[in-house]
Symmetry: C2
Subunit: 572 residues, 2 copies
């Protein structure tokens, strides 16, 4: 299962589709020159190809286990993690003040893409730490920052997120974990948390848990929740791991995939914690972390899509088939129109999802570097789209990859099935894709759809500029954007629950139109002679984009017909 | 994971959507009165609920194993198989002359649906035997029939299909297995076959393999292939299992799912076989078997969809969520519009796929009972649609079922993930869904689309009749059928490889339009007051049917743009 880092694709998207030059032109990111970025991505690519990719199947076959309360990780993971940490790959976008490279998130996003493709279950570990660093940078006290950030950034310590409880999943406000003041500035944290990715490991000196819990005077629901940093080992006066905290792993889950990543049930029994952010301000702090984590999880889907695509393409180019339907064919199954349709779909969707994610990363970098509200609004709009479309693309592409393999796709030794089993959870965790869609049509459209309409306008402006060189494709994209505008206007005129009823198809329609927009940009950049990117753009725009109309029709239906289907109807 | 046989749904579809009364009115199937059918389905339902469903997870956790060349099946499977055999459920549509019940295939289809939902991996065993019975009934000599059919029909012996070889999957004509005449009317079969479902077991007296192989004078390709019956034990003079034949299981595959079903690599070393059908007529005989098997596999998808739906619905009705978005809600996640959208999608797609499968079964029964070519042509047209849409629906519904479960969906104990892992292969085996689509636009349209247009006309006639009571839904269905007609005309005007390039989206469009047609029939049958079926029909027609337009646009594109994307482009 060899993996080749798609460096040319990143380069092209950064240069021609995501407008990375604007990021490099800011003072904050002046060091992110093309040469530096190329060197960084090249190094990360080597690590992924040579160190991580060989562990992908190991993680599946030799899952993490729990032995007498101790998590034992997949053989090879510890050494690979050491290389990730020592290479500085845990947090390349972290503040240099704490040892980070201070590189744009856009660069980190490309690195995460490659690491996800190479070994998703191990990559999830630093992704969690990245989220924690982000939350601490924004919300922790200076003392906590000084103590924890250098260790997290260097990868000596790992970070986790503890939100979910058995009765509180998407409904975070239902959580019951308690935090009682110890009278010395610390808190005693008690409760059970479930689905904690990388809840423990046997290769980092410490594991730091960010835990949502309720203070004694915390109101019910999300408004009464606070955030606490609860380390496995309490740092001593020198900042080294000291006394064992009263927390532990109760059990690990037996999952469909992602076996190399231990998913823990965590028990906190009056564990010592430190508050991060304001009392009852836990959700706000958590959202900082979750927004970047949502981009990160979307990128997991994209990375897996890339891995599954390369894997299926290699098979299609190798697998002999007697009768070739085309003159001068290679005699392998890639000669078959339906196989080529599948491969083209995989490649075109992966490009679209990657372009969306990198445009989001650029918006986040620009918002940080310039402080301009427009960039922040754009990033907020794109976040749920990047998460849901990225992960849906991972699932769809992995499933197509199995299909390209025919019968071999169902056989585990082939590796095609693992991509699907691993990536399936990405549509669920970090906010299900349904939650993402509700975020898009709810919170992200509280501005009456203004940010959405600005985005649509950008698409139409791009299409107008493309009319001269690519009239047919430009016309399709312009029209799809216009349908999207009408769909958005119709949506914001609806009540909230009517919007929710069409949220998932609406989000997908938006993603298709954005994807078409970025494909068109790529085609324009290729120039009037055309080339592979223009051909791929035509494939996406002519064959996949048309679905947006059906999705928008679906989204307009409102909620009434759904509720007319009563639980009794559904049970009949 | 309780399962409830959807008897009311079968009854309703048979009575109001699939026109089963025509079957019962034939002389051949005069015994299939409503009372008999109801009794049969009720009994089968009990077996599925009480005996098979409890084994579903057992099969996953305790896969079949190979020990010193002997296959050991999942604990409990042997006893459950005994009950299937003794109840006469292996082959209820087999000829009474050989011990079958002689019931319509339509009834067998409903039984297969329930058995697939309850325990897919065990159900695959009698499904294989059913295909073998069908092939022998049509093509075997009287001696072979008299010897084998009673044992197969009673379930004392099991049957398998041996087509695939390592280098010959979808490209069956590439097979290398040889058959040399022994001079006594038997043949010596030599070769290796792979992906042989239920290649052996430890609960039937004998296992009979239908093996494709090439006679010494067989031409290359599919035209030189013959079919042989090769039993594990050669029947003695009394027809009892005698001498062990020189064949065996080399290994079992490690698969993504369907663990309870042993998938074998089979080795034949001069094994004694008997020819079935004419020399070099193997493909013709195999197609008899494969056509019914394709319906059977489509129904596997539908059964799994039903199981996954029931499972997700039970979870949604039980899982508490703090804030209900609707007044008077139940306080569980079913109150949420997006959850209801998922459940409605699952139920509406399952109904559509089931209605297509049962209409196909009725067409096969009518073709057999009346000998009319129109029924046969209709069945031929519907076969690839039922297979591909049934299995795609199984996959889509199982994946939605996981999503309804949220984080729990990824945890194996829940059972939701197993449905997806098990059903994924149904889109691959028995002819991949790509092969089905190519069959639809190729072989099944060699009549210039006449059979397709007759089917479309039936849809429009139905829509016209529905205009009085359900004008809005009828209008949508009529228009979609009209688009389908235009799409079909455009398709048959294309060259074969252009058709192939759009085959998969074309098939799906056809399935959606057929599904809408059957939903509309169900709504009309419910009468002017409306009811749950009318509400579900509205959901399908308003929200899911619109995708047909995008799919037809995709299908019209032809092959040129796909081949313009060269292997170099795809590798870039």
């Amino acid at each position: 299962m060899p993996y080749r880092a798609p460096l040319a694709d990143f380069r092209f998207i950064l240069d021609h589709v995501a407008g990375f030059d604007a990021v490099a032109a800011t003072e904050l990111f002046a060091e992110a020159t093309p040469e530096t970025v190329e060197a960084i991505l090249g190094e990360a690519g080597k690590l992924c190809e040579n160190v991580l990719a060989p562990l992908q199947r190991e993680g599946d076959l030799k899952p993490a286990t729990l032995e007498n309360g101790v998590v034992r990780t997949t053989p090879g993971f510890a050494e690979a993690y050491r290389q990730i940490a020592e290479g500085g790959w845990v947090a390349i976008s972290a503040d240099p003040e704490h040892g980070g490279m201070g590189l744009p998130l856009t660069v980190a996003t490309a690195v995460n893409d490659m690491m996800s493709a190479a070994c998703l279950s191990l990559q999830l570990n630093p992704l969690m730490t990245q989220g924690q660093i982000e939350a601490l940078e924004h919300h922790a006290s200076e003392e906590l920052k000084a103590l924890y950030l250098p260790k997290l950034v260097s990868g000596e310590w790992c970070g986790t997120m503890n939100l979910t409880e058995p009765q509180a999943g998407s409904d975070v406000g239902a959580l019951r974990s308690k935090a009682e003041p110890n009278g010395n500035g610390t808190y005693a944290i008690t409760g059970q948390k479930v689905f904690i990715s990388w809840g423990d490991n046997d290769f980092s000196e410490n594991v730091c848990h960010l835990v949502l819990a309720r203070l004694p005077d915390g109101a019910p629901g999300t408004k009464g929740i606070s955030l606490f940093l609860v380390p496995k080992f309490i740092p001593d006066e020198n900042g080294n791991p000291g006394r064992r905290n009263s927390l532990g792993v109760v059990s690990l889950e037996h999952k469909m995939g992602l076996h190399g990543s231990p998913t823990a049930v965590m028990q906190y029994d009056g564990a010592t914690g430190w508050m991060v952010g304001a009392p009852h301000g836990g959700m706000k702090a958590m959202f900082t972390m979750m927004n970047n984590a949502r981009l990160g999880v979307g990128v997991q889907g994209i990375g897996v899509a890339e891995g599954a695509y390369q894997h299926a393409l290699a098979y299609a180019l190798d697998r002999k088939q007697g009768n070739t339907p085309v003159e001068g064919g290679s005699g392998t199954i890639v000669d078959h129109a339906d196989v080529r349709r599948m491969l083209a779909t995989m490649k075109a969707e992966t490009f679209a999802a990657r372009a969306i994610a990198l445009n989001l990363a650029v918006a986040l970098d620009m918002a940080r570097a310039t402080g301009e509200a427009d960039w922040a609004a754009r990033a907020a709009l794109l976040t749920p789209i990047a998460k849901a479309y990225g992960t849906d693309t991972g699932i769809n592409v992995a499933s197509l990859g199995m299909q390209v393999h025919g019968g071999m796709g169902f056989i585990e030794e082939t590796g095609a099935a693992q991509y699907l089993r691993d990536v399936r959870v990405t549509a669920i965790y970090e906010g299900t894709n349904g939650i993402q869609a509700m975020d898009l049509v709810g919170r992200k459209m509280m501005d009456n759809g203004e940010a959405a309409c600005r985005q649509i306008e950008e698409i139409q402006t791009g299409a107008e500029a493309a009319r001269a060189s690519l009239p047919a494709l430009a016309e399709d994209v312009w029209n799809a954007a216009e349908a999207m505008r009408e769909g958005t206007e119709a949506l914001v005129a609806q009540g909230l629950n009517d919007r929710f009823a069409g949220a998932v198809p609406f989000l997908r329609a938006f993603a298709l139109v954005l994807g078409a927009h970025y494909h068109l940009r790529a085609a324009v950049a290729e120039g009037t002679q055309g080339g592979p990117r223009t051909r791929l753009a035509a494939f996406f725009i002519k064959r996949l984009l048309p679905e947006h109309a059906a999705l928008l029709a679906h989204a307009r239906e409102g909620a009434a017909d759904l509720y007319a289907l009563s639980p009794e109807d559904l049970s009949a």
